[in-house]
Structures are given as structure tokens and as C-alpha cells.
Amino acid sequence: MQIKRTILFIVVLVILCAGFISKDNHPTIAKRVQFKVPKGWPTPVYDFSKNPLTEEGIALGKQLFYDGQLSKDGTISCGSCHQQFGAFNSYDHPLSHGIENALTTRNAPALFNLAWQKEFMWDGGINHLDLQPLAPITAHNEMGEDIENVLTKLKKNKQYPKLFKAAFGDETINTQRLGKALSQFLLTMVSSNSKYDRVMRGEDSFLLPEKLGHDIFTTKCAQCHTAPLFTDYTYRNTGMPQEPYLKDLGRMTITNDPSDSLKFRVPSLRNVSVSFPYGHDGRFFSLINVFEHYRNNMQIGPTTDALLKNKLPLSNYEIGQLRAFLQTLTDSVFLKDPQFSDPGIGVLSKPPLDQHN
């Protein structure tokens, strides 16, 4: 008798509980997208198991990336400073611009191949891609907004609760989902279709100057700008004297270690011909400025990189060949791929004129 009652009680309890589960009759299941690692590339550092790519998640991330609502006054989106024709850097702005005429203290870096990048910002202060967008959103001289306000705006919006539901299963909008959605879009931005890549895949061949440039690059540049990502993601002082107004100490700001003074992240050289100006504060307008810095203008200090203690001797001839090679790193497929472009504008068929290179 006792047992029968217990069984009955359990059965009733299970049925009652089941009532709550079956509430949503049409659960939406987001369509999984497989992340493709280009042949011969290392394993990505991003943990996709914690944030599996889906069509809906990527679409939501793209919508957010180009939405000015993420800024305080609605004028600045991520896409404002990360423009596709410049490999998602800021066209011709040494320092990127924020709300209310604010200037930031650093050059907006180009964005691609982020799945392989472990730390972000020129000083490497941010340790996870999901967290990265929170920095520009909250910086007073960038988008100037509170995370809480962004979430409130998105929750009030007619579309976003539906888009979050499609991507994550329910309408909850929180910081984690905001970051994950943006990451999903950013992770799809893989640049691996330059002429260099085609040559490496045996589908194309270098012209003579490009080939000579590649050889010079391999001896003189590749130790830090290592293929296939064209960066080793380390922090190095390349002899750029401290800018007296910005007083930027780079990596030392994060580590408090004087041996990290004036060190900045080695940038990738993929798409380098279209992503001017160069340097963490955009002080170099053209590749010629950069070469001139390395061969003549470097200031050797206590933390200057060991590889550059004698500067980087380059002849005019070598510079010519190097420029030819660096052009082969431009990925025109990536720069014009509509899946990354502003949904309101589309691909700009004619990028602005390159006045410098």
C-alpha cells in the first residue's frame, strides 16, 4: 500500500513537472555552422564548444556590429571605426574617433582571423574575444555607453528579443549573449584568400619582385610577422619613441612591469596595403614611413627588441621588393565579401582613394 502510494505520488509529480517543459511547442533550433580552418593553419584558440557558431548567431552579431544603438548617442557602431574596405580598420584616421568629437589614443586595428588571437588591444589587456566589444562600448571617448543601457535598448527594441531567441533559444538579453553574438560574427571574418595564399596553395605564382620580396621578408621580417597569420602575437618595442601627448606605455600599462615599457602587439601584415595608417597610434601614414622608421628613425632604448638592436637595415632595392610582396597579402575576396558588409549599405564598390601608398 505504502509503495503504491509512493509510486502514484512520483507519477503525479512527473506529470506535473512535464507540464512546464511542454510549454514551448515550437522550439527554434539554430542552424549550426562549421568553422573552417584554412589548410595548414594552426588550431584556433577560441573555444567554439562554449559558443557554437549558428546562422542565427552570426546574423545577430552582424546586426549588432553595425548598430549605432550600442553607442550613447546612437552615432557610432563597431562598423564606424572598423570598415570593410580597410580590412575593418579606420580609413585614414591615425586615432579612431568616438562620440561627441572625441579622439581615442590608439589606431583602430584591422579585424580578421580573430579565432587565432588570444589577447586583444594593442596592449593585450583583454583576454577573451567575447569581452573585447565591451571596451569600445564603455570607453568615454569611443561609444561612451553603459552596458546596462545597451541591454535596456536592445530589450525595448522590436527585433532584438526575437533575434536573441533565434540565436540562443529564448529572449533573454544579457552581456554574455551580446558578447557571444558579436564573437560569432567576428569569428567568421577569416582572411585567407590573398594572392600569397593562392601561391601557397599552388594555384598562382609570384611575379619576380613579389618572389624576391618574399625571400627578403622571410629573412628580415618573418621572425615577428610569422606566416600564416603574419604575426606571432607577442609584444615588442620596435623603437617608436613615446608620443609625448599620449604618453602610452603599451603592455606595461597591463603588467606594471617596466621591462614591458613601450611594447605593443605585433600586428598581422595581412591586408597591410589597405589598412594604413600604421602603428599603435597611427603615426605612420604609408609603408614608406614604416620602412624609413625601421632603417633610420628607430630610437633604441632599454626595452627595444633584441632583434632590432641595430635597427633593421633595408636598401631602397629591398624596400621596393618588400612592397611588391606585401601587396600579395591583400585579400580582395575578404574586402568585398557581402557576408561581412554593412546590411544598410552593402559593399562599397569603390573604396576611398589611397593617398599614401
Binding site: 512546464f20 577573451h128 567575447d130 565591451l134
Partner: protein, 236 residues
């Protein structure tokens, strides 16, 4: 009709849970400034003789455990809690209190793994403002106020302590002896003396250092200081 019994069922379960929580002894923080009960709008004098008014004080705490008389460790909770002087309820933590425990141990700060694995939710959501967005890491504790000695706009001082990596890991573990005669039904009261921020181990003067907004030496000194702000109230 179908909705009604569902709601009824939920309410019953919720009531049951609440009852359980209420019937358990709790740990409660009591804010002090030196020997006085702390009030948000009052002025106090710190050890350097500077007048201070504090309007914001928050800190994360986790890894609560008890040590028994026989030296066994009993884990109470690895959950994170955010104590906030502006939220009365946040200052009460529901734990079962075991009679033969002699020591209470807890951390001030956020576990390092949660500083390195992307964006967290709930009480650890960066939207709560206890997070540095420009360099990854939780603000383990913050103290904001005004002092005529602060040579800053609005005479404001602002201490935000963080850093989870050696050599500037600002997480601190607190050990408190439990009172021997404690009535099981009453909450355990932990006196939290805000004056210790300025004088716990190092003298911090608002006049010379009104701000802390990064991991580093100052954050470490402030963390050392406030790690000595807790003590068990003896007569409760």
C-alpha cells in the same frame, strides 16, 4: 484553469524554498567605521585625519567554508556574492551554521578562472559595473566617496581594486575565529570596518592617492588593508 494549477504549484515550491532559507542561520555583515555603526551620509575621520564621506562600497566574496574543532573543512558555498551597502539584502548570506565549527574562512574577490573565460552571467555580469572592460578583470572591491582632502574634481576619491594575476593578485582569504558561545538561532554578525581601507596594513592618504583604477601596487596595498576589516561580533 490549466495555468492556475501551474502557478499554484510553483508558488508552493517557492514558499517551501523561502521557508527553508529563513529557517537557516545566516551570516550578516554589519558596516562600521572604527567603533561606530557606519551610515552612508555621515562624515568620518580616517587615520590620517582626513574627513571622508562614503557613498558606495561593494565587494565580491566567495569560497565560504568552516573549520571544525576536529580540523575538518566543511564547504558552505563556492557561489559568488556581491555585498553592496546600498542593498540591505545583499549583506545577509544564508548558510547553515554548524555548532562545532571554530573558524570561518572566505575569499574577498572573484575566482581567477572566472576572469579568464569570457563573459559571466548573474551576479558576475559585467553590466553590474564591477568589471574592467579596458583590461580584463573583475573589480574585487570598490569604495567611492568624497573628502575635502581629495585634490580632484568634486573632491571625489575612488578606489577600485582588482587584479587576478601574480604578482598583483588582489584576491584575499579571510579567516575568522567563531565565537564559542553562539546561539544557533541568531545570525553570525561580521563587523566590517571601512576605516581599515585607509590604515589596515599600509597608510593610504586620500590627499596623495585619491584614485585606484588598475591592478598593481596600490591595489595590492588596498586589498591588504581591507582584508583586515572583518571581525566577529562577540555578543550576539
Amino acid at each position: 484553469m490549466q495555468q492556475n494549477w501551474k502557478i499554484g504549484f510553483l508558488i508552493t515550491i517557492l514558499l517551501g524554498l523561502t521557508n527553508m532559507a529563513i529557517s537557516q542561520p545566516t551570516v550578516q555583515f554589519k558596516m562600521m567605521f572604527n567603533n561606530q555603526t557606519f551610515h552612508k551620509d555621515s562624515s568620518y575621520s580616517n587615520s590620517a585625519g582626513e574627513m571622508v564621506q562614503i557613498h558606495r562600497f561593494m565587494f565580491y566574496t566567495t569560497k565560504w567554508k568552516l573549520i571544525t574543532a576536529s580540523n575538518d573543512t566543511i564547504n558552505l558555498s563556492n557561489e559568488h556574492f556581491l555585498i553592496n551597502i546600498e542593498k540591505e539584502l545583499s549583506m545577509v548570506l544564508p548558510f547553515p551554521k554548524l555548532a562545532n565549527a571554530t573558524k570561518l574562512i572566505f575569499d574577498i574577490g572573484v575566482d581567477s578562472i572566472l576572469n579568464t573565460t569570457g563573459i559571466q552571467t548573474g551576479i558576475l555580469d559585467p553590466a553590474l559595473g564591477m568589471f574592467w572592460t579596458w583590461r580584463t578583470g573583475y573589480i574585487m572591491a570598490k569604495l567611492h566617496g568624497v573628502s575635502p582632502q581629495a585634490k580632484t574634481a568634486g573632491n571625489r576619491f575612488s578606489y577600485e581594486v582588482g587584479g587576478f594575476q601574480s604578482p598583483f593578485n588582489s584576491v584575499r582569504t579571510i579567516e575568522l575565529e567563531l565565537p564559542t558561545q553562539h546561539q544557533k538561532s541568531k545570525p553570525l554578525i561580521i563587523k566590517t570596518d571601512l576605516a581599515k581601507w585607509f590604515s589596515g596594513k599600509h597608510i593610504i592618504q586620500i590627499g596623495t592617492t585619491p584614485n585606484c583604477h588598475n591592478a598593481g601596487k596600490l591595489a595590492m596595498q588596498l586589498a591588504d588593508n581591507y582584508s583586515s576589516m572583518f571581525s566577529m561580533a562577540i555578543n550576539n
